[in-house]
Symmetry: C2
C-alpha cells in the first residue's frame, strides 16, 4: 500500500460505521450520527493506523502533524471559531476510540485550546467567568494527569488545600476567587514537577493526541484486552471534536441514556444526567446524577430531541443504544453512541421485543443471545424468609446470586482465586484497574456508584451478580474491614450478594430456581424453530426426567440404571447379588431387583409420554457397589449389631477379588454383561415389562436400550442376540418396538464403527470416557495433578473434559460418524457425555451431523440455544463458501 | 456350472499337482508320479466335489456309480486283471486323500475285491495260501471296522481266541489252519452284529467309497481341522488303486522313507520298512520296522530304484519328500508322496542346503521357514550334569524341552489346560483321537512307537518336544500310573521331557540357551539381505544390550531408564528424591543419581558401538518406586532397626499423596517431566555426559532421546526446548549429534501426529499402552478377567497384547504414520511395544512403512525372519496387483 495516499484523517461527515476498524467505535458512531443528520458537534478522527504507526516509531509523523493542522483549519471554518484565539475561541475534546469497546480504559482530554488568552476570550464571549475558570481547572487537571502523568492525588490535595482556606470543599461550589486560586494552585502542582502548563494550544493538542495513542499500551488497557481476548495490534483512533459545554449554567447539562432499560429490558429510556457539569462527572460518580426523565420538565426541548434521537438511533442500529449527550444552553448535542451493555435478562427481553417489532430477524435474534446470557438468567434467586441475614441493601446492578469469601483488593482476588477459592470483591467503588480482580471474583459489592458506574457496567458485561451503591456499608479496603449493620467482616468471611434484589447476606443462603421463565421459554421456542440438532437429557431419576421435560428435552439420551441400584432399599440386594457364588445364586437376587427396576422404568416411560428414552445397561465395575476395603476392615474389628463377621469376611473377599489396578479400563460395561449375562437379562426383562405396562395405560413407549463400553463388533453382536432373545421372552408378540444401540466411548469403537453399526440401531458418544482414553487422562487423577497446570502453561487451550478436544477426540468422533453412517445411512447418533451441555461442543456436534445432544436437565436451555446458533452459523458458512 | 460336464473321476495318468484341490494330496501325488514315469500302480481318483455332493445328499449319485464301474473297466484293461474273478483277480485299495494333509485322520480299506472265489484264484495264481488268507483277514478286519463300524476290539479278541486255541498269538505267526480259522472267526464277528461280509466285490467297493466320504465328518477329522484351521467344506477325494502286495513273502516289503533326515536335516535317506507286511503295519507300530538302508542288502534292485525315485521326486518338488512304497516280489511301487514333515532344526538345515544346491531361491528359502521354526530351534536344552534326575531314555522325536504336570488322557489334558496348567501328556502310544489333547499339552512322552509314529509326527508338526518309544517305562493310563526306574508317578507330578536328547527327567531341571547357532545365523543373514525393516532391541541393562547385539540387533529401540532406578544402591536415593518437599531438595538427590545414570548410559553407547540407542526418559508414576501402602503400615507397626517412624510416616504420606484411581492414565510420562522438569534435566545431563565420555574414547555415539506419553504437540514443544537447553549446557560446542523423539502410545498422539512431528525427529509406537487405551483394557486387570474368555467365545480373534489389533490399533498407527510423514517425509518411525517381536505384527509394521521394529533380545531372530518374509510378501503382492 502506498502510505502517501492512505487517508489518515476523516472529518466527521466523511466516515460511518463501515469504517469502524479505522475510526474506532466512537469516531465511527459520531460520523454515523452526523450522516443521519443528528446534532453532533463538528470534528475529525485520526485513524487507528496512525496509532500503530506512532507506537512503532515513538513520535508523531511529520505528515500527520500537517494534516492535523489542516483539519483544524477546516474545523475553524466549519464552526466559525478560532483555535487559540478570540473572539470565539475553538476548544476541542481529544478522546480515544478503539474499534472494540474498552469502557474507561483509555484517555480523554477536554477543553483543549484553553489558555490564559482564550480563557479571557471565553469570559468575554459568555460573560461567565465561573464557567471559564471551571473549564480551565478541568483542562489543567486532565492534561496534568493524563498527558503528563502527574498523580491525581496531587490535584485532589491542591483542591482540598484551596477549599479549606476558602470555604466549601468541592470545585463546583467554590466562589470565583477560590476557583481562580485553584487554577493558580494547579499551576504550582505543575511547577512542583518541573513542568509548565503549555499555553500553546497546538502543543496541548499534539501532546493530548500522543497521550491517547500511548494509552493503548497502558497496563490496564493491556489487561482488559487480555481478559476480553482483544487483538493488541488493533490500535485506537483519536477523535478531535469541537467542545460543547454542559457546564454553562443551569440550562446546560450532561448525561448518559440507554434507549431501553439495561437491567430489565423494558422499552423506556433509562439514564441519568447532571445539570451544569461536564461528561466525566457522570461516569466518575462524584456527584449523584438525576433520572433522565427529569429533563422533560427542566429542559423540555432538549428532552424531546433526545427522545427522537434515541428512537432514530435504535432503528438505525437495530439494537438498544447507549448515548452520551450534552445540553449546552438548552441545545442538545450527541457526543457518543454505541450498542448498550445490558443484563442478560434485559438482553433477552430486548431481543424478543425487537423480534416482535420486526426490527430483527429470527436468525439475528438467536445469534444475539450468547449461551452466557441464558446462564446468567438461569441464575437462581435467594429464597424468601431469610431477611434476618441481610447485611445491606443497594442497587441491583447485575442479577444473579453469588456466595463467596470477602476479598478487598483485586490483587488479592487474583491470588486467592488461583487456589480455587470463590470470592466476592468488596470495594468502595471499582475502576478500570479492578477488571482483572473482577474477572477472578464471583460477585461484587460496592459502597458507591450508580447503575452506570464502572462496577455495574462491568458486572453486567461479565454476567456476574453485583450490588452497587450500598451506601449504608463502610468499606475500609486498606484496613480490610467491611462494616454493615453493626457487623465487622474481614477477608475470608463468607457473604452472598443477590444482584437481582440488590441485597447482600451474611454467609451462604438458600437459593431457588428462577421462577419466571416466560421469556426464556419463548426465546427457546424461537431457537428450536431453526435448530436441526435436538436436545435430549441425561436423567437418572423420575425427578430429573420431569425437570428435563420442563426444560424442553425431546428425549432421554442417557438413563443410567446403576444409580437405581444405590437406593437404601436396594443396595443390600445388589451386594448379595455381587457376592453370589454362582450365576444361579446371582439370578435369585436379580429376581428381587427386577420389580424395582420395572417400577423405575415405568415412571420414565410415563413421564416422557412417547419421547425416546435411552436406558443404558449396567456400566460401572461391580466393586463400586461394595464398601471400601478400609471400611470393611474397620467394621470387622468391631461388627455392629446384626452384622455377622462371616458376612463381612465374605464381602472383604469379594472386594479383594474385584480389586483392579485401573478400574476405568477394567471389568465393566458390556464386558460384565457378556461374562455375567444374567445381569443384563434382568435389566432387559425389566425394560420390557415396564414398556408393556405403560403401553397398557395408553402411552406408546419409545424404548432404546444402550450397551456401554463396546469396542468390538462381536460384543455388540453377542449382546444384541441376548437382548432380543430376552425381550421376546417377555413380549412374544412383539408389541413393543425398540432399538438396540451402543455408547461409543472407547477409541477403538470409533475406528471400527462401520462394523459395530451392523449390530446397532443407534450410537451415543460417551465423550467423558472417550476423552479419558484418547488422552490417557484419568479424570479423577489428572484434573488436580496436571491438567490445571497444563492449562496455565498454555499446553492445553482448555479443559478437554469441559469442551470437546476437536483435534483428537473430535477427529475420532468424526471417523465414528462417517463409518457408522457408511453402514447405516440413517443411523441415529447423539452424544451423552457432559460435553452435550457445552456450547462449543454442541456446535461441533452439529457440524459432524449428530442428531441430538443429551445434556444434564439444567443445561438444556443453554444447549437449545447452542443448537440453534450452530444451525445458523453453519447455514451462514455454507452460504459464504 | 453344468454338473453333467464336470469331470468326476480322473485316471491316475490324467491328473497332477495342479489339481490338488480336486484330487487331494494323495491322488494328485500319485498322478504326478505317474506323469514322471515313476513306478506307480494303476488306478483312479474320485474328486473332492463328489465327497461334498455325497455328504449333502447322503447317498452315492447314480451317475457316479456308473462312472466308477467304467473306471474299473479301464483299470481291468490296463492291468489285465478282472475285478471279482479269476484267473487274475483285480484287488484295489480304497483310500482317502484331502487337499490338505490330515495324517491318519481318515480311512483306508485294502484288498477290496477279495472274496471266497477270488481268494482261491489268488492261491492258484500265487501258490501262497498264507498270503491269500492274510490278505483276506486284513480286508475283513478293515472293512468291518472302517465301513461297518464294528469295534476293533472284537477282531482283536477274536484273534486272541483263535491264537490261544492254536498256538502263536499274532496273525503273522499263525499257521495256515489257524489263519483259516481266524477268517471264519471274523465271519462270526460280523454275524454277531447281524451282518455278513459282502461277497460282491462292487458292494465292497461302493461301501468303502462311502465310508471314506463319511470319514471326512468323523469326530477326530473335525477336531483336527478345527485345530489346524482347515476349511470344513473342502472334502476328501477317494483313490482306488490296484493293490500291490508287500506281504507276498520275503522278497516283498512295505515302508516309508524321507528323502532327507527329518530330525537333523542331513542329506541322506531316512526311513523304515517291514518285510512281508502291508502298509498299515509300519504306521501302526505293531511290528518294529528296520532301517531303510537294510534294503540295500536284502533287495538291492528295489533299493536302487527307490534311491533314484527319491532323488527325482526331491528335484521335482524342490523339497524334502515323504514317500510310501511297497516292494512286491522284488519290484518297487510308490504308493504315496508328499512334502515331508520335519523338525524345525532339520527344516532350517534342509532349506539352507537346498538354497546352496540351487534348488530354491533366496525368497523361497525365506518363505519356507516359519517364525515357529525359529522358535522351535531356539528352544533351550537341558544343562549337563543332571543325569541323576533322568527317569527314562527313548527316541528324540521332536526337539525342545518342556516341563509340566503329568496327565494320562487327552480329555483330562483339555480340562486342566483351561485352568492354565502346563502339562506333559504321557501315553502308551497316541492315536488320531489324541490330537486335541496334544494341542492342550506342552510335551509328550510315549512308551511305544518309532520316529514315524503318530506321536512323533504330530509333535514335530506342532513344534512341541516329544520323547517316544521309551520302552523302559510302563504307562498304565487307566490306573493313572507311570512306572520308571523304580519310581511311581501320578497325575500332577512334574516331569521334564527333552526331545532333543530323548530323555525325560523327574521335576523341573536347569536349561540352557541353544549352543550351536551357525545355521540360524547363516539363515538370518540370508533374511537380512532381503529385509527393508530393521530389527532393533528393547534392552534395559548392559547385559541385555550385549545379548541383543549378539542376536543381530541394529540398534536399541527402547532403553527404559526407570529400571536403572530400582537397583539396590539406588532405590534409597530415588525414594528420598520422590519424598522431597520442593524442587530444590529434589535436585540434591537427583545430583546423586546423576553419576549412576551416566555410567549406565556410557555402557550402552560403548556396547552398541555407534548404532542408534534410544533412551526413554522416566515414564512410570513415581509411586511405583515406593513400597505398597500396606507394607509401610505393617512396618510402622514395628519399625525395624535403623528405620525411623518419622521417615516411614513421611513415606506413607507421600504414597497417599501419589495414590491414583487409574495410575495407567495418571501422573506419569512426560506429564511428570513437565511438572517436575528437574528429573528430565538430570537424565538429559547424564545422557550428554555419557555420550561425551564415549566419544572421547573414540566411539561416535548415536544418541536418541525419547519422551514418553506425549498426547499434545505442546508437550513435545516444551520438552524439546528443555532437552536442548540442558544438552547444550553440557555440550556447549555441540559435539554430540542427537535426535529428540517421542513414543506414540496415547491414541490422541496418532490423531495429531502431524503437529507432534513438528517437534519430533522420530516416533516410536508404544503399542502396549496404545492397545490398552484404544481398547480401554487395563492389561493387568483384563487378561485374567475377560480377555481369555473373549478369545474362547470368539469375540476376539487373538489377544491384542500379543498381536497388533489391525482394525483398531493398527488403523490408529496408520493414521499416525501418514500424518507424521506429512510433516516430515523422512521421519524415523519404529515400534517398541512387545508386538515388535510378533511376526504378524511385524508384517503389518512393514506394510505401513515403519523403519524398524524393536523386540526383546530373545525375539530378535524371529523378528529378523518376519521382517524378511514381510518384504517378500509385499513385493509379491505388488507384483501381483
Amino acid at each position: 500500500m502506498n502510505l502517501g495516499t492512505e487517508k489518515r484523517i476523516y472529518d466527521l461527515g466523511e466516515g460511518g460505521m463501515h469504517l469502524v476498524h479505522l475510526l474506532g467505535g466512537k469516531g465511527a458512531g459520531l460520523a454515523e450520527m452526523r450522516r443521519m443528520g443528528l446534532p453532533v458537534p463538528a470534528g475529525f478522527t485520526i485513524t487507528t493506523a496512525e496509532c500503530t504507526r506512532y507506537l512503532k516509531h515513538g513520535r508523531l509523523d511529520e505528515g500527520l502533524v500537517n494534516e492535523v493542522r489542516e483539519a483544524m483549519g477546516r474545523l475553524e471554518a466549519a464552526t466559525g471559531k478560532s483555535f487559540g484565539r478570540g473572539p470565539r475561541p475553538l476548544l476541542v475534546s481529544v478522546r480515544s476510540g478503539a474499534p472494540v469497546s474498552m469502557p474507561g480504559m483509555m484517555d480523554t482530554v477536554l477543553n483543549v485550546g484553553l489558555n490564559e488568552e482564550t480563557m479571557e476570550a471565553m469570559v468575554a464571549l459568555t460573560g461567565d467567568r465561573r464557567f471559564a475558570l471551571d473549564s480551565m481547572r478541568r483542562l489543567m487537571q486532565m492534561f496534568g494527569t493524563t498527558v503528563l502523568g502527574i498523580p491525581k492525588e496531587e490535584f485532589d490535595r491542591a483542591t482540598l488545600r484551596v477549599a479549606r482556606n476558602n470555604g466549601p470543599g468541592s470545585a463546583d461550589m467554590m466562589d470565583l476567587d477560590t476557583l481562580d486560586g485553584l487554577v493558580r494552585e494547579f499551576g504550582e502542582v505543575y511547577r512542583n514537577h518541573g513542568l509548565e502548563f503549555p499555553q500553546d494550544p497546538y502543543r496541548q493538542l499534539f501532546m493530548s493526541i500522543e497521550a491517547v495513542f500511548r494509552s493503548w499500551n497502558s497496563d490496564r488497557a493491556r489487561a482488559y484486552r487480555e481478559i476480553n481476548g482483544i487483538d493488541d495490534g488493533m490500535g485506537t483512533a483519536v477523535n478531535v471534536v469541537e467542545m460543547v459545554f454542559g457546564n454553562m449554567g443551569e440550562d446546560s447539562a450532561t448525561g448518559v441514556v440507554f434507549t431501553r432499560d439495561p437491567n430489565t429490558g423494558e422499552k423506556r429510556l433509562s439514564g441519568e444526567y447532571l445539570v451544569n457539569a461536564q461528561g466525566e462527572d457522570v461516569v466518575a460518580g462524584i456527584r449523584t446524577p438525576e433520572n433522565v426523565y427529569g429533563m422533560e420538565r427542566r429542559m423540555p426541548g432538549a428532552f424531546r430531541d433526545l427522545v427522537e434521537a434515541c428512537d432514530r438511533l435504535e432503528r438505525h442500529y437495530r439494537d438498544m443504544m447507549d448515548i452520551e449527550f450534552t445540553v449546552e444552553r438548552g441545545r442538545l448535542y450527541l457526543l457518543q453512541t454505541r450498542v448498550g451493555k445490558r443484563a442478560p435478562r434485559a438482553h433477552l427481553r430486548i431481543t424478543l421485543d425487537m423480534l416482535k417489532e420486526g426490527l430483527i430477524s429470527v436468525e439475528e435474534a438467536v445469534m444475539r443471545v450468547e449461551p452466557e446470557h441464558i446462564e446468567g438468567i438461569m441464575h437462581p434467586r435467594v429464597e424468601d424468609g431469610q431477611d434476618g441475614s441481610v447485611i445491606c441493601s443497594g442497587l441491583a446492578a447485575s442479577p444473579g446470586v453469588a456466595t463467596g469469601e470477602i476479598v478487598f483488593s483485586s490483587d488479592r482476588a487474583i491470588e486467592l482465586s488461583k487456589q480455587g477459592r470463590r470470592l466476592i470483591l468488596v470495594r468502595p467503588e471499582t475502576t478500570a484497574d479492578d477488571v482483572r480482580g473482577m474477572a477472578a471474583s464471583a460477585g461484587f459489592l460496592t459502597q458507591k456508584g450508580g447503575m452506570t458506574s464502572h462496577a455495574a457496567v462491568v458486572a453486567r458485561a461479565m454476567g456476574k451478580p453485583a450490588v452497587v451503591g450500598a451506601e449504608e456499608i463502610e468499606v475500609d479496603h486498606i484496613g480490610g474491614v467491611l462494616r454493615a449493620r453493626g457487623l465487622t467482616l474481614r477477608e475470608g468471611d463468607v457473604v452472598t450478594v443477590d444482584g437481582t434484589t440488590g441485597r447482600a447476606y451474611i454467609g451462604e443462603v438458600r437459593v431457588t430456581e428462577v421462577a419466571e421463565r416466560d421469556d426464556i421459554d419463548e426465546f427457546l421456542r424461537v431457537c428450536d424453530s431453526v435448530s436441526r440438532l435436538q436436545v435430549w437429557a441425561n436423567a437418572n431419576t423420575p425427578e430429573e426426567v420431569a425437570l428435563a421435560k420442563r426444560n424442553g428435552a425431546k428425549g432421554i439420551g442417557l438413563a443410567r440404571t446403576e444409580r437405581m441400584f444405590l437406593g437404601n432399599d436396594r443396595i443390600g440386594v445388589v451386594r448379595a447379588m455381587i457376592m453370589s457364588r454362582d450365576s444361579e445364586e446371582r439370578r435369585s437376587y436379580l429376581d428381587r431387583l427386577l420389580p424395582m427396576q420395572v417400577s423405575d422404568f415405568t415412571e420414565f416411560f410415563r413421564t416422557m409420554e412417547g419421547m425416546p428414552v435411552i436406558i443404558r445397561l449396567l456400566d460401572p465395575p461391580l466393586h463400586e457397589f461394595l464398601p471400601e476395603k478400609e471400611e470393611i476392615l474397620e467394621r470387622l474389628s468391631g461388627p455392629a449389631d446384626g452384622e455377622s463377621a462371616a458376612e463381612l469376611k465374605k464381602m472383604l473377599e469379594t472386594v479383594r477379588d474385584l480389586e483392579e489396578f485401573n478400574p476405568m479400563l477394567g471389568f465393566r460395561g458390556c464386558r460384565l454383561g457378556i461374562i455375567h449375562r444374567e445381569i443384563y437379562e434382568m435389566q432387559v426383562r425389566a425394560i420390557a415389562r415396564a414398556a408393556l405396562r405403560v403401553r397398557s395405560e395408553g402411552i406408546e413407549p419409545n424404548v432404546e436400550i444402550m450397551v456401554p463400553l463396546v469396542g468390538h463388533e462381536n460384543e455388540m453382536k453377542e449382546l444384541r442376540e441376548i437382548i432380543m432373545k430376552t425381550f421376546s421372552s417377555e413380549d412374544p408378540e412383539g408389541r413393543i418396538r425398540y432399538k438396540i444401540g451402543t455408547m461409543i466411548e472407547v477409541p477403538r469403537a470409533c475406528l471400527v464403527a462401520d462394523r459395530i453399526a451392523e449390530f446397532a440401531d443407534f450410537f451415543s458418544f460417551g465423550t467423558n470416557d472417550l476423552t479419558q482414553m484418547t488422552f490417557g487422562y484419568s479424570r479423577d487423577d489428572a484434573e488436580g495433578k496436571f491438567i490445571r497446570q497444563y492449562i496455565e502453561r498454555g499446553i492445553l487451550r482448555h479443559d478437554p473434559f469441559t469442551s470437546i478436544d476437536l483435534d483428537g477426540v473430535g477427529r475420532l468422533m468424526k471417523i465414528g460418524v462417517e463409518l457408522g453412517r457408511k453402514t447405516k445411512r440413517d443411523l441415529e447418533i447423539g452424544i451423552c457425555g457432559e460435553h452435550g451441555g457445552d456450547p462449543e461442543s454442541i456446535e461441533f456436534c452439529h457440524t459432524i451431523g449428530l442428531d441430538y445432544v443429551s445434556a444434564s436437565p439444567r443445561r438444556i436451555p443453554v444447549a437449545r440455544l447452542a443448537a440453534a446458533r450452530a444451525a445458523i452459523r453453519s447455514a451462514m458458512g455454507s452460504r459464504e463458501s
